[in-house]
Symmetry: C2
Subunit: 353 residues, 2 copies
DNA sequence: TGTTTTTGCTGATACGGTTCAGCATATTGG
DNA sequence: CCAATATGCTGAACCGTATCAGCAAAAACA
């Protein structure tokens, strides 16, 4: 039993395929189709349960009304990440508003470059990319002049549109906060190796330390805890461990916090922790997590709207947008000092009841 | 500047389009293309940066190697929901394994039925649906015999495959736990109105109460807090408020917990709370949330694999799968009684350090 | 040498729509 | 009454690929 095509409807209604096409696309007026014929066609289409084949339409119109999202590091949601969820929320919201469908490229390819370019094959009109600055796949997409907006990353090429945050400022902000609290031994849990965003935050961290006249200690810098926490555990169990930590993401920071607590440390009495993203979960953790806020939803939303404009040819005022970060101070950071904070906190918690 | 097509490659290589098609699809052997010609074609394709148009291919092969996911209640990620993230993780993981792309239908349509059926237009080979049991859109997809697997819901039609959990058992389990702790006044925050899953959990809740000889109090049952918490606030501030609550989802339960704490209640001393899903965040909340566990990732994964098998025509042993729930008891539930628990808990927390 | 089989390649058609240009017929204007 | 315009509809071409059936030349066989 074949799907009913436009030809079936045409035959059934006793008209040409063309007429059916015009009617179903709401072109009856401009194509000068009589009201009588229009009604007849609509009735027949309904009766036969006709549903146009999107592929055929896309093939001839050269547009799909769909966008794609490409993340770094393989598949989507490969790790439970509040960042990813929030970014996807922003993208989806903008797609709903703009009338675009969304494609996730989960089909594996042999070649990583082709993998990222696989969507430039007619299925989508444009692509949102979260890749490293020097990513070859990104370069490929840009080289083909395929509509594209980078988000949570950027490009040196002035023609490439992006929506990014100021990771350098974020790193500086987090570190300055800890410095102001009197901390001297400040460690950092850096993000994915090779990530430019991670590099920027590290530079901010370093610069803040230098401005305070504190030398950077490379042994205080460990790689992400998501993959392997052994380095982190080594760091916080050593004799001259840092008294404060700036962590790549909230999700990583939660793991750090939990690990530290299991090792017998109290937060923030023994160790202050600053996360990144300031996701909702920061409010619910014990203690609540101080975190650098970046408006992930808004940024993803803005990037998607920008891409839609580029695809549609709508004029846009700016194609390179940088969001400033902010700091949400919560309970996971405290002034440097030993038992005093512990007492003060116990007192406050009693008073609030 | 037109995209290079297969005809361009053919002309450039001095062969017919057909030859190019065979070579690029790895059919050189079966189509008896000489090695020499094969090399020439491959080289030309490379030189011209040829990339086959997926739409044209899909149109003629009648398959897309893509699946779609359709959720209830409009768009994706409309609310920050750990359930949704976890489900998407499972779907994506299975898609990566199976070599399928994923489509999210975010393009709004006038008619809700058409909206869900919009993907049956050649763009995807099958669809995963999370809709209510009596959903008209679901009926439409089933009626068209379009490959489809329901997840986190089911159908009375024995031909419709699904992967669901036993919500009735989950509701019973949560309520029994509270009853065993000595609670008599047990309220429930039910889920989305009209959701069959919510109805099943409610039935489990009611049945557990009845089995314990306790009469169901309709005024103890309030609707979801995600939309409007006023009913919930009214419930827990009244004189004869419940001492325990069974809540639709972890996310809702967190809101309940926070709201209750802000109103001056202690958890679990003044109010025991049981959530649903047992997401990772349950471990991090203060106190940790007791929750009915359902393996959201595994279920989504299984549903996707099932759909892939149906699409590919691979034989499957079972097309209707029910996962049993389980209970993870954590700190948000305690035996009924007043101040005793508060002391005991304080004591324990000291001892553990 | 003549017939059959194999090798290597291609023309034509189909997939299911959209759109341009054009063709009758009906209507209007002078 | 004739020319000009408006109305209502359609034939043909096209989007870019896959695949069936077939064709010429070379090789194998008798």
């Amino acid at each position: 039993m074949r799907r009913t095509t436009i030809a079936d409807v045409a035959k059934h209604a006793g008209v040409g395929k063309v007429t059916v096409s015009y009617v179903l696309n709401g072109q009856s007026r401009t194509a000068r189709i009589s009201e009588e014929t229009e009604k007849k066609v609509l009735r027949c289409a309904e009766e036969l349960g006709y549903r146009p084949n999107a592929l055929a339409r896309m093939l001839v119109t050269q547009r799909s009304d769909a966008l794609a999202v490409v993340f770094q590091y393989g598949a989507f949601f490969s790790a439970l990440s509040s960042f990813t969820s929030e970014a996807m929320r922003g993208v989806c919201a903008a797609c709903v508003e703009s009338g675009f469908d969304l494609m996730l490229h989960t089909k594996a390819a042999d070649d990583p470059i082709h993998e990222a370019c696989a969507l430039m094959d007619g299925r989508v009109d444009g692509v949102l990319m979260l890749r490293d600055r020097d990513d070859p796949a990104m370069a490929e997409v840009v080289a083909h002049k395929f509509p594209c907006v980078l988000f949570f990353t950027r490009s040196d090429d002035p023609h490439v549109p992006f929506v990014d945050s100021d990771n350098y400022a974020g790193g500086r902000m987090a570190t300055s906060h800890l410095l102001e609290l009197g901390h001297q031994k400040i460690g950092m849990v850096i993000g994915p190796a090779g990530s430019v965003a991670a590099g920027d935050r590290f530079n901010g961290y370093r610069n803040a330390l230098e401005s305070a006249g504190i030398e950077l200690r490379p042994d205080y810098v460990v790689s992400g805890v998501g993959i392997d926490p052994t380095d982190f555990i080594k760091l916080i169990t050593r004799e001259d461990r840092p008294t404060a930590l700036f962590v790549w993401s909230d999700d990583d920071a939660f793991i750090c916090m939990q690990t530290a607590i299991e090792l017998g440390l109290s937060i923030p009495e023994d160790l202050s922790i600053v996360g990144y993203d300031s996701s909702e979960a920061c409010e619910r953790s014990k203690p609540a997590l101080t975190s650098v806020r970046q408006p992930v939803f808004d940024m993803a939303h803005a990037a998607t709207r920008l891409l839609v404009s580029l695809v549609r040819g709508t004029p846009v005022e700016r194609t390179r947008i940088v969001f400033p970060p902010d700091l949400d101070v919560r309970g996971s950071t405290a002034p440097f000092g030993d038992s005093f904070n512990s007492h003060r906190r116990g007192h406050l918690s009693h008073a609030s009841h």
